[in-house]
Protein backbone atom coordinates (compact mmCIF):
# COMPACT_ATOMS: atom_id res chain seq x y z
CA UNK A 1 0.00 0.00 0.00
CA UNK A 2 1.42 3.41 -0.93
CA UNK A 3 1.71 6.21 1.64
CA UNK A 4 -1.25 7.92 -0.07
CA UNK A 5 -3.36 4.76 0.26
CA UNK A 6 -2.37 4.36 3.92
CA UNK A 7 -3.30 8.01 4.50
CA UNK A 8 -6.70 7.52 2.86
CA UNK A 9 -7.45 4.34 4.82
CA UNK A 10 -6.56 5.86 8.21
CA UNK A 11 -8.59 8.96 7.28
CA UNK A 12 -11.75 6.84 7.17
CA UNK A 13 -10.78 5.14 10.44
CA UNK A 14 -10.31 8.42 12.31
CA UNK A 15 -13.70 9.88 11.32
CA UNK A 16 -15.69 8.52 14.29
CA UNK A 17 -12.96 9.77 16.66
CA UNK A 18 -12.71 13.24 15.08
CA UNK A 19 -15.87 14.47 16.75
CA UNK A 20 -15.21 18.18 16.15
CA UNK A 21 -14.39 17.59 12.49
CA UNK A 22 -10.89 19.06 12.78
CA UNK A 23 -9.23 19.47 9.35
CA UNK A 24 -6.37 16.97 9.29
CA UNK A 25 -2.96 17.82 7.83
CA UNK A 26 0.42 16.22 8.36
CA UNK A 27 1.18 18.54 11.29
CA UNK A 28 -2.14 17.91 13.08
CA UNK A 29 -1.38 16.56 16.57
CA UNK A 30 -3.47 13.92 18.35
CA UNK A 31 -3.11 15.19 21.91
CA UNK A 32 -3.27 18.90 21.04
CA UNK A 33 -5.37 19.52 17.90
CA UNK A 34 -7.60 16.46 18.11
CA UNK A 35 -7.79 16.42 21.93
CA UNK A 36 -7.44 12.63 22.13
CA UNK A 37 -7.34 11.26 25.68
CA UNK A 38 -5.62 7.96 26.49
CA UNK A 39 -8.80 5.91 26.01
CA UNK A 40 -9.47 7.41 22.58
CA UNK A 41 -5.88 6.73 21.62
CA UNK A 42 -6.29 3.08 22.65
CA UNK A 43 -9.49 2.61 20.63
CA UNK A 44 -8.11 4.44 17.60
CA UNK A 45 -4.84 2.49 17.67
CA UNK A 46 -6.81 -0.77 17.94
CA UNK A 47 -8.78 0.18 14.80
CA UNK A 48 -5.59 0.82 12.86
CA UNK A 49 -3.96 -2.37 14.15
CA UNK A 50 -6.95 -4.45 13.06
CA UNK A 51 -7.25 -2.75 9.66
CA UNK A 52 -3.56 -3.18 8.79
CA UNK A 53 -2.88 -6.33 10.83
CA UNK A 54 0.07 -4.71 12.63
CA UNK A 55 1.15 -3.96 16.19
CA UNK A 56 1.81 -0.36 17.17
CA UNK A 57 3.44 -0.78 20.58
CA UNK A 58 3.27 1.88 23.29
CA UNK A 59 6.98 2.47 22.64
CA UNK A 60 6.22 3.29 19.00
CA UNK A 61 3.15 5.34 19.92
CA UNK A 62 5.33 7.54 22.11
CA UNK A 63 7.22 8.63 18.98
CA UNK A 64 4.05 9.51 17.06
CA UNK A 65 2.68 12.96 17.80
CA UNK A 66 1.10 14.06 14.54
CA UNK A 67 -0.76 12.73 11.50
CA UNK A 68 2.22 12.67 9.18
CA UNK A 69 4.25 10.62 11.65
CA UNK A 70 1.38 8.16 12.06
CA UNK A 71 0.96 7.60 8.31
CA UNK A 72 4.72 7.13 7.91
CA UNK A 73 4.88 4.68 10.83
CA UNK A 74 1.95 2.57 9.62
CA UNK A 75 3.33 2.58 6.06
CA UNK A 76 6.63 1.28 7.39
CA UNK A 77 4.97 -1.32 9.65
CA UNK A 78 2.79 -2.87 6.94
CA UNK A 79 5.86 -3.49 4.79
CA UNK A 80 7.89 -5.11 7.53
Amino acid sequence: MSPADVDAKIRTLIEPFNKKGVAIEDATTFAGDLEFDSLTVMDFVAEIEDAFDVIISMNQQAEIENWGQLVAAVHKLQDS
Binding site: D37, L39, M42, A46, D50, V54, I55, S57, M58
Partner: protein
Protein backbone atom coordinates in the same frame (compact mmCIF):
# COMPACT_ATOMS: atom_id res chain seq x y z
CA UNK B 1 35.57 30.39 23.33
CA UNK B 2 36.29 30.27 27.05
CA UNK B 3 35.88 34.02 27.40
CA UNK B 4 32.73 34.02 25.31
CA UNK B 5 31.26 31.41 27.63
CA UNK B 6 32.01 33.30 30.84
CA UNK B 7 30.55 36.46 29.32
CA UNK B 8 27.24 34.79 28.54
CA UNK B 9 26.65 33.24 31.97
CA UNK B 10 23.92 35.73 32.83
CA UNK B 11 21.33 34.45 35.29
CA UNK B 12 19.07 32.04 33.39
CA UNK B 13 15.35 32.14 34.10
CA UNK B 14 14.69 29.37 36.66
CA UNK B 15 12.18 26.74 35.57
CA UNK B 16 9.95 25.46 38.36
CA UNK B 17 9.84 21.71 37.86
CA UNK B 18 6.68 21.50 39.95
CA UNK B 19 4.75 23.87 37.67
CA UNK B 20 3.53 20.91 35.62
CA UNK B 21 1.40 19.85 38.58
CA UNK B 22 -0.55 23.12 38.78
CA UNK B 23 -3.78 21.62 37.35
CA UNK B 24 -3.75 18.97 40.10
CA UNK B 25 -3.14 21.61 42.77
CA UNK B 26 -6.10 23.60 41.42
CA UNK B 27 -8.50 20.64 41.31
CA UNK B 28 -7.58 19.80 44.87
CA UNK B 29 -7.99 23.38 46.09
CA UNK B 30 -11.42 23.64 44.45
CA UNK B 31 -12.51 20.43 46.13
CA UNK B 32 -11.33 21.56 49.56
CA UNK B 33 -12.76 25.08 49.08
CA UNK B 34 -16.17 23.47 48.68
CA UNK B 35 -15.77 22.39 52.31
CA UNK B 36 -15.02 18.73 51.67
CA UNK B 37 -12.67 16.94 54.06
CA UNK B 38 -9.48 16.00 52.24
CA UNK B 39 -10.07 12.46 50.93
CA UNK B 40 -6.34 11.91 50.54
CA UNK B 41 -5.29 13.09 53.97
CA UNK B 42 -7.25 10.91 56.37
CA UNK B 43 -5.61 10.01 59.66
CA UNK B 44 -6.45 6.95 61.73
CA UNK B 45 -5.74 8.09 65.28
CA UNK B 46 -6.54 4.66 66.71
CA UNK B 47 -7.18 1.31 65.07
CA UNK B 48 -9.61 -0.70 67.19
CA UNK B 49 -9.95 -3.85 65.07
CA UNK B 50 -9.70 -4.91 61.40
CA UNK B 51 -13.07 -3.24 60.85
CA UNK B 52 -13.07 -0.22 63.21
CA UNK B 53 -10.84 2.82 63.74
CA UNK B 54 -10.97 6.37 65.06
CA UNK B 55 -10.61 8.39 61.84
CA UNK B 56 -10.33 12.19 61.99
CA UNK B 57 -11.75 11.93 65.51
CA UNK B 58 -14.76 9.71 64.66
CA UNK B 59 -15.51 6.07 65.44
CA UNK B 60 -15.54 4.65 61.93
CA UNK B 61 -16.34 1.34 60.23
CA UNK B 62 -13.55 0.48 57.80
CA UNK B 63 -14.82 -0.54 54.36
CA UNK B 64 -11.84 0.39 52.23
CA UNK B 65 -8.72 -1.28 53.59
CA UNK B 66 -8.30 -4.51 51.52
CA UNK B 67 -7.96 -6.28 54.85
CA UNK B 68 -10.04 -9.09 53.38
CA UNK B 69 -9.37 -11.79 55.93
CA UNK B 70 -8.97 -9.50 58.95
CA UNK B 71 -5.54 -10.91 59.86
CA UNK B 72 -4.09 -7.60 61.13
CA UNK B 73 -5.25 -8.27 64.71
CA UNK B 74 -4.98 -12.06 64.72
CA UNK B 75 -3.44 -13.13 68.06
CA UNK B 76 -1.02 -15.63 66.53
CA UNK B 77 0.07 -13.20 63.82
CA UNK B 78 0.83 -10.51 66.39
CA UNK B 79 2.58 -12.93 68.78
CA UNK B 80 4.85 -14.24 66.01
CA UNK B 81 5.83 -10.71 65.05
CA UNK B 82 6.56 -9.68 68.64
CA UNK B 83 8.73 -12.74 69.24
CA UNK B 84 10.72 -12.17 66.03
CA UNK B 85 11.31 -8.55 66.94
CA UNK B 86 12.59 -9.61 70.39
CA UNK B 87 14.84 -12.28 68.90
CA UNK B 88 16.07 -10.65 65.68
CA UNK B 89 15.70 -6.90 66.27
CA UNK B 90 13.71 -4.16 64.61
CA UNK B 91 15.13 -4.28 61.08
CA UNK B 92 17.46 -6.00 58.64
CA UNK B 93 19.47 -2.98 57.46
CA UNK B 94 20.35 -4.84 54.32
CA UNK B 95 19.52 -6.35 50.95
CA UNK B 96 18.17 -9.87 50.67
CA UNK B 97 21.30 -10.87 48.74
CA UNK B 98 23.73 -9.47 51.30
CA UNK B 99 22.95 -9.32 55.03
CA UNK B 100 19.14 -9.07 54.83
CA UNK B 101 18.01 -12.70 54.67
CA UNK B 102 17.11 -13.88 58.18
CA UNK B 103 15.53 -17.16 59.26
CA UNK B 104 12.04 -15.76 58.86
CA UNK B 105 12.60 -14.53 55.28
CA UNK B 106 13.36 -18.12 54.38
CA UNK B 107 10.39 -19.32 56.41
CA UNK B 108 7.89 -16.98 54.78
CA UNK B 109 9.08 -18.19 51.36
CA UNK B 110 8.54 -21.77 52.57
CA UNK B 111 5.03 -20.79 53.71
CA UNK B 112 4.31 -19.40 50.23
CA UNK B 113 5.55 -22.57 48.55
CA UNK B 114 3.23 -24.57 50.81
CA UNK B 115 0.29 -22.24 50.21
CA UNK B 116 0.58 -22.27 46.41
CA UNK B 117 2.07 -25.80 46.12
CA UNK B 118 4.82 -24.35 43.92
CA UNK B 119 8.57 -24.92 43.76
CA UNK B 120 9.83 -21.36 44.17
CA UNK B 121 8.91 -18.21 46.07
CA UNK B 122 10.66 -14.87 46.20
CA UNK B 123 9.67 -12.14 48.67
CA UNK B 124 9.96 -8.44 47.84
CA UNK B 125 9.60 -5.46 50.15
CA UNK B 126 6.21 -4.50 48.63
CA UNK B 127 3.76 -5.83 46.05
CA UNK B 128 4.57 -2.82 43.90
CA UNK B 129 8.22 -3.84 43.82
CA UNK B 130 7.31 -7.45 43.00
CA UNK B 131 5.58 -6.36 39.78
CA UNK B 132 8.17 -3.71 39.04
CA UNK B 133 11.02 -6.17 39.47
CA UNK B 134 9.64 -9.32 37.89
CA UNK B 135 8.11 -7.67 34.81
CA UNK B 136 11.06 -5.40 34.04
CA UNK B 137 13.50 -8.29 34.49
CA UNK B 138 11.60 -10.97 32.56
CA UNK B 139 10.84 -8.96 29.44
CA UNK B 140 13.92 -7.40 27.87
CA UNK B 141 14.81 -5.68 24.61
CA UNK B 142 13.06 -7.27 21.64
CA UNK B 143 10.52 -9.09 23.85
CA UNK B 144 6.81 -8.21 23.91
CA UNK B 145 4.64 -7.54 26.95
CA UNK B 146 0.95 -7.91 26.18
CA UNK B 147 -1.18 -6.54 29.00
CA UNK B 148 -4.71 -5.52 29.92
CA UNK B 149 -5.24 -1.76 29.55
CA UNK B 150 -6.70 -1.58 33.09
CA UNK B 151 -3.58 -3.05 34.71
CA UNK B 152 -2.39 -1.74 38.07
CA UNK B 153 0.18 1.09 38.17
CA UNK B 154 2.87 -1.30 39.40
CA UNK B 155 2.47 -3.39 36.23
CA UNK B 156 2.67 -0.33 33.98
CA UNK B 157 5.73 0.89 35.88
CA UNK B 158 7.34 -2.54 35.47
CA UNK B 159 6.77 -2.18 31.72
CA UNK B 160 8.19 1.34 31.69
CA UNK B 161 11.28 0.27 33.59
CA UNK B 162 12.15 -2.51 31.13
CA UNK B 163 13.05 -2.33 27.47
CA UNK B 164 10.38 -4.60 25.98
CA UNK B 165 7.75 -3.57 23.44
CA UNK B 166 4.55 -2.84 25.38
CA UNK B 167 1.23 -3.79 23.78
CA UNK B 168 -2.00 -3.17 25.69
CA UNK B 169 -5.36 -4.73 24.85
CA UNK B 170 -8.94 -3.81 25.76
CA UNK B 171 -9.95 -4.77 29.29
CA UNK B 172 -10.86 -8.46 29.69
CA UNK B 173 -11.26 -8.82 25.90
CA UNK B 174 -10.14 -12.33 24.94
CA UNK B 175 -10.34 -11.65 21.20
CA UNK B 176 -8.27 -8.46 21.48
CA UNK B 177 -5.58 -10.41 23.35
CA UNK B 178 -5.54 -13.17 20.73
CA UNK B 179 -5.24 -10.73 17.81
CA UNK B 180 -2.21 -9.11 19.38
CA UNK B 181 -0.55 -12.43 20.20
CA UNK B 182 -0.91 -13.42 16.56
CA UNK B 183 0.79 -10.23 15.35
CA UNK B 184 3.92 -10.50 17.50
CA UNK B 185 6.90 -11.17 15.20
CA UNK B 186 7.92 -14.80 15.05
CA UNK B 187 10.64 -15.76 17.49
CA UNK B 188 10.12 -12.83 19.85
CA UNK B 189 9.67 -13.54 23.58
CA UNK B 190 6.13 -12.90 24.83
CA UNK B 191 4.92 -12.15 28.35
CA UNK B 192 1.17 -11.86 28.90
CA UNK B 193 0.34 -9.93 32.08
CA UNK B 194 -3.11 -10.37 33.62
CA UNK B 195 -4.80 -9.79 36.95
CA UNK B 196 -7.16 -12.20 38.70
CA UNK B 197 -9.35 -9.48 40.20
CA UNK B 198 -9.15 -5.91 38.87
CA UNK B 199 -9.10 -3.69 41.91
CA UNK B 200 -11.02 -0.70 40.60
CA UNK B 201 -14.28 -2.40 39.57
CA UNK B 202 -13.79 -5.66 41.47
CA UNK B 203 -14.34 -7.72 38.32
CA UNK B 204 -12.68 -11.04 37.59
CA UNK B 205 -10.67 -11.85 34.43
CA UNK B 206 -11.63 -14.66 32.03
CA UNK B 207 -8.34 -16.39 32.86
CA UNK B 208 -9.42 -19.79 31.58
CA UNK B 209 -9.64 -18.58 27.97
CA UNK B 210 -6.85 -16.02 28.24
CA UNK B 211 -4.29 -18.42 29.70
CA UNK B 212 -5.19 -21.11 27.14
CA UNK B 213 -4.81 -18.69 24.22
CA UNK B 214 -1.56 -17.26 25.59
CA UNK B 215 -0.06 -20.73 25.94
CA UNK B 216 -1.26 -21.71 22.45
CA UNK B 217 0.75 -18.78 21.09
CA UNK B 218 3.86 -19.71 23.05
CA UNK B 219 3.66 -16.86 25.56
CA UNK B 220 4.64 -16.98 29.22
CA UNK B 221 1.87 -15.86 31.55
CA UNK B 222 2.07 -13.74 34.70
CA UNK B 223 -1.05 -13.27 36.83
CA UNK B 224 -1.32 -10.73 39.63
CA UNK B 225 -3.55 -12.30 42.28
CA UNK B 226 -3.23 -9.52 44.87
CA UNK B 227 -7.00 -9.21 45.37
CA UNK B 228 -7.91 -12.90 45.45
CA UNK B 229 -5.42 -14.58 47.78
CA UNK B 230 -7.01 -16.41 50.68
CA UNK B 231 -10.61 -16.54 49.51
CA UNK B 232 -10.92 -17.26 45.76
CA UNK B 233 -10.21 -20.82 44.55
CA UNK B 234 -10.42 -24.09 46.44
CA UNK B 235 -7.21 -23.43 48.39
CA UNK B 236 -7.46 -19.65 48.23
CA UNK B 237 -4.76 -19.49 45.54
CA UNK B 238 -6.77 -17.12 43.41
CA UNK B 239 -8.76 -16.76 40.22
CA UNK B 240 -6.35 -18.93 38.21
CA UNK B 241 -6.99 -21.78 40.63
CA UNK B 242 -10.73 -21.13 40.62
CA UNK B 243 -10.85 -21.32 36.82
CA UNK B 244 -8.64 -24.40 36.71
CA UNK B 245 -5.62 -22.92 34.91
CA UNK B 246 -3.13 -22.33 37.72
CA UNK B 247 -0.82 -25.09 36.39
CA UNK B 248 -0.41 -23.17 33.11
CA UNK B 249 0.44 -19.87 34.80
CA UNK B 250 4.20 -19.29 34.82
CA UNK B 251 4.36 -16.59 37.49
CA UNK B 252 1.92 -15.51 40.18
CA UNK B 253 2.45 -12.13 41.81
CA UNK B 254 0.92 -11.37 45.18
CA UNK B 255 1.06 -9.13 48.19
CA UNK B 256 1.06 -9.39 51.98
CA UNK B 257 -0.72 -6.05 52.37
CA UNK B 258 -4.21 -7.38 51.69
CA UNK B 259 -5.41 -10.81 52.91
CA UNK B 260 -2.15 -11.58 54.74
CA UNK B 261 -2.51 -8.33 56.72
CA UNK B 262 1.13 -7.19 56.83
CA UNK B 263 3.31 -5.69 54.09
CA UNK B 264 5.47 -7.16 51.34
CA UNK B 265 5.14 -8.65 47.88
CA UNK B 266 6.04 -11.94 46.25
CA UNK B 267 6.33 -14.02 43.13
CA UNK B 268 5.78 -17.80 43.09
CA UNK B 269 6.62 -20.06 40.16
CA UNK B 270 7.51 -23.59 39.07
CA UNK B 271 10.06 -22.40 36.52
CA UNK B 272 13.25 -24.44 37.02
CA UNK B 273 15.49 -21.38 36.53
CA UNK B 274 13.44 -19.10 38.77
CA UNK B 275 16.10 -18.68 41.48
CA UNK B 276 18.39 -16.73 39.12
CA UNK B 277 15.96 -13.82 39.41
CA UNK B 278 17.30 -13.16 42.90
CA UNK B 279 20.58 -12.10 41.30
CA UNK B 280 19.32 -10.08 38.35
CA UNK B 281 16.14 -8.38 39.60
CA UNK B 282 17.14 -4.89 40.66
CA UNK B 283 14.11 -3.98 42.82
CA UNK B 284 14.91 -7.16 44.79
CA UNK B 285 18.65 -6.57 45.09
CA UNK B 286 18.90 -2.82 45.65
CA UNK B 287 16.55 -2.35 48.58
CA UNK B 288 16.50 -3.40 52.21
CA UNK B 289 14.74 -6.61 53.21
CA UNK B 290 11.59 -6.39 55.32
CA UNK B 291 11.93 -6.44 59.13
CA UNK B 292 11.96 -9.90 60.75
CA UNK B 293 8.76 -9.14 62.68
CA UNK B 294 6.90 -8.58 59.40
CA UNK B 295 8.25 -11.84 58.01
CA UNK B 296 7.27 -13.89 61.06
CA UNK B 297 3.78 -12.34 61.16
CA UNK B 298 3.36 -12.98 57.43
CA UNK B 299 4.45 -16.62 57.61
CA UNK B 300 2.02 -17.26 60.48
CA UNK B 301 -0.79 -15.49 58.63
CA UNK B 302 -0.22 -17.37 55.34
CA UNK B 303 -0.31 -20.73 57.12
CA UNK B 304 -3.52 -19.74 58.94
CA UNK B 305 -5.10 -18.67 55.64
CA UNK B 306 -4.67 -22.26 54.45
CA UNK B 307 -7.32 -23.24 56.99
CA UNK B 308 -9.61 -20.23 56.76
CA UNK B 309 -12.69 -21.92 55.26
CA UNK B 310 -15.23 -20.43 57.66
CA UNK B 311 -13.88 -16.90 57.37
CA UNK B 312 -13.86 -17.28 53.60
CA UNK B 313 -17.55 -18.26 53.57
CA UNK B 314 -18.48 -15.30 55.75
CA UNK B 315 -16.53 -12.89 53.54
CA UNK B 316 -18.48 -14.06 50.49
CA UNK B 317 -21.73 -13.75 52.40
CA UNK B 318 -20.81 -10.15 53.31
CA UNK B 319 -19.91 -9.37 49.70
CA UNK B 320 -23.21 -10.75 48.37
CA UNK B 321 -25.29 -8.96 51.02
CA UNK B 322 -23.64 -5.59 50.42
CA UNK B 323 -23.82 -5.93 46.63
CA UNK B 324 -27.52 -6.80 46.66
CA UNK B 325 -28.32 -4.17 49.30
CA UNK B 326 -26.61 -1.36 47.38
CA UNK B 327 -28.30 -2.40 44.14
CA UNK B 328 -31.68 -2.50 45.81
CA UNK B 329 -31.06 1.03 47.14
CA UNK B 330 -30.53 2.18 43.54
CA UNK B 331 -26.76 2.64 43.40
CA UNK B 332 -24.91 1.91 40.17
CA UNK B 333 -22.24 -0.74 40.77
CA UNK B 334 -19.10 -1.77 38.91
CA UNK B 335 -20.25 -5.36 38.37
CA UNK B 336 -23.65 -6.97 37.74
CA UNK B 337 -22.91 -9.70 40.26
CA UNK B 338 -20.56 -9.82 43.27
CA UNK B 339 -17.36 -11.28 41.78
CA UNK B 340 -14.88 -10.50 44.55
CA UNK B 341 -14.64 -8.75 47.92
CA UNK B 342 -14.48 -5.37 46.13
CA UNK B 343 -17.69 -3.53 45.35
CA UNK B 344 -17.29 -0.34 43.33
CA UNK B 345 -20.08 2.23 43.60
CA UNK B 346 -20.04 4.45 40.51
CA UNK B 347 -20.43 8.19 41.21
CA UNK B 348 -21.85 10.67 38.68
CA UNK B 349 -18.72 12.89 38.87
CA UNK B 350 -15.76 13.79 41.08
CA UNK B 351 -17.62 16.56 42.92
CA UNK B 352 -20.61 14.37 43.87
CA UNK B 353 -18.21 11.52 44.62
CA UNK B 354 -16.22 13.67 47.05
CA UNK B 355 -19.43 14.91 48.71
CA UNK B 356 -20.71 11.36 49.06
CA UNK B 357 -17.37 10.22 50.43
CA UNK B 358 -17.48 12.97 53.05
CA UNK B 359 -21.12 12.27 53.93
CA UNK B 360 -20.24 8.61 54.52
CA UNK B 361 -17.24 9.58 56.65
CA UNK B 362 -19.49 11.76 58.79
CA UNK B 363 -21.88 8.82 59.12
CA UNK B 364 -18.88 6.85 60.42
CA UNK B 365 -17.90 4.87 57.33
CA UNK B 366 -14.60 4.85 55.49
CA UNK B 367 -14.48 3.84 51.81
CA UNK B 368 -11.88 4.62 49.10
CA UNK B 369 -12.50 7.55 46.83
CA UNK B 370 -10.97 6.50 43.51
CA UNK B 371 -10.70 8.90 40.59
CA UNK B 372 -8.92 9.28 37.27
CA UNK B 373 -6.25 8.43 36.24
CA UNK B 374 -6.37 5.42 38.59
CA UNK B 375 -9.88 4.52 37.43
CA UNK B 376 -11.00 3.19 34.03
CA UNK B 377 -12.96 5.40 31.61
CA UNK B 378 -12.46 8.54 33.73
CA UNK B 379 -14.91 7.33 36.37
CA UNK B 380 -15.15 8.43 40.00
CA UNK B 381 -15.73 5.46 42.28
CA UNK B 382 -16.45 4.81 45.92
CA UNK B 383 -14.63 1.55 46.33
CA UNK B 384 -15.70 -0.74 49.11
CA UNK B 385 -13.64 -3.73 50.20
CA UNK B 386 -15.18 -6.18 52.62
CA UNK B 387 -13.55 -8.02 55.48
CA UNK B 388 -14.28 -11.49 56.85
CA UNK B 389 -14.44 -9.80 60.27
CA UNK B 390 -17.31 -7.49 59.32
CA UNK B 391 -20.32 -8.79 61.25
CA UNK B 392 -23.65 -9.26 59.48
CA UNK B 393 -24.97 -6.40 61.65
CA UNK B 394 -22.14 -4.12 60.50
CA UNK B 395 -23.07 -4.80 56.87
CA UNK B 396 -26.66 -3.75 57.61
CA UNK B 397 -25.37 -0.63 59.40
CA UNK B 398 -23.24 0.15 56.33
CA UNK B 399 -26.29 -0.12 54.05
CA UNK B 400 -28.17 2.32 56.30
CA UNK B 401 -25.27 4.78 56.06
CA UNK B 402 -25.21 4.51 52.27
CA UNK B 403 -28.96 5.08 52.10
CA UNK B 404 -28.89 8.25 54.25
CA UNK B 405 -25.78 9.69 52.56
CA UNK B 406 -26.98 8.81 49.07
CA UNK B 407 -30.32 10.55 49.64
CA UNK B 408 -28.70 13.59 51.26
CA UNK B 409 -26.33 14.06 48.31
CA UNK B 410 -29.04 13.25 45.78
CA UNK B 411 -27.42 10.21 44.19
CA UNK B 412 -30.32 7.84 44.86
Amino acid sequence: MATAMTETTTAAEPVDLLAKFDPIIQTREQLLAAGVEDPFNLVMEQVLSPTRAICNGRDTILLGTYNYMGMTFDDDVIAAGKQAMEDFGAGTTGSRVLNGTFRDHRDVEAALREFYAMDHAMVFSTGYQANLGIISTLAGKGDYIILDIDSHASIWDGCAMGNAEVVPFKHNDVEALEKRLKRVPEGAGKLVVLEGVYSMMGDVAPLKEMVRISKAHGAMVLVDEAHSMGFIGEHGRGVAEDQGVIDDVDFIIGTFSKSVGTVGGFCVSNHPKFEVLRLVCRPYVFTAALPPSVMASSATSIRKLMHGGNKRAHLWENSRTLHKGLRDLGFQLGTETPQSAIIAVIMPDLEKGAMMWEALLKEGLYVNLARPPATPAGMTLLRCSLCAEHSSEQVQTILGMFERAGKAIGII
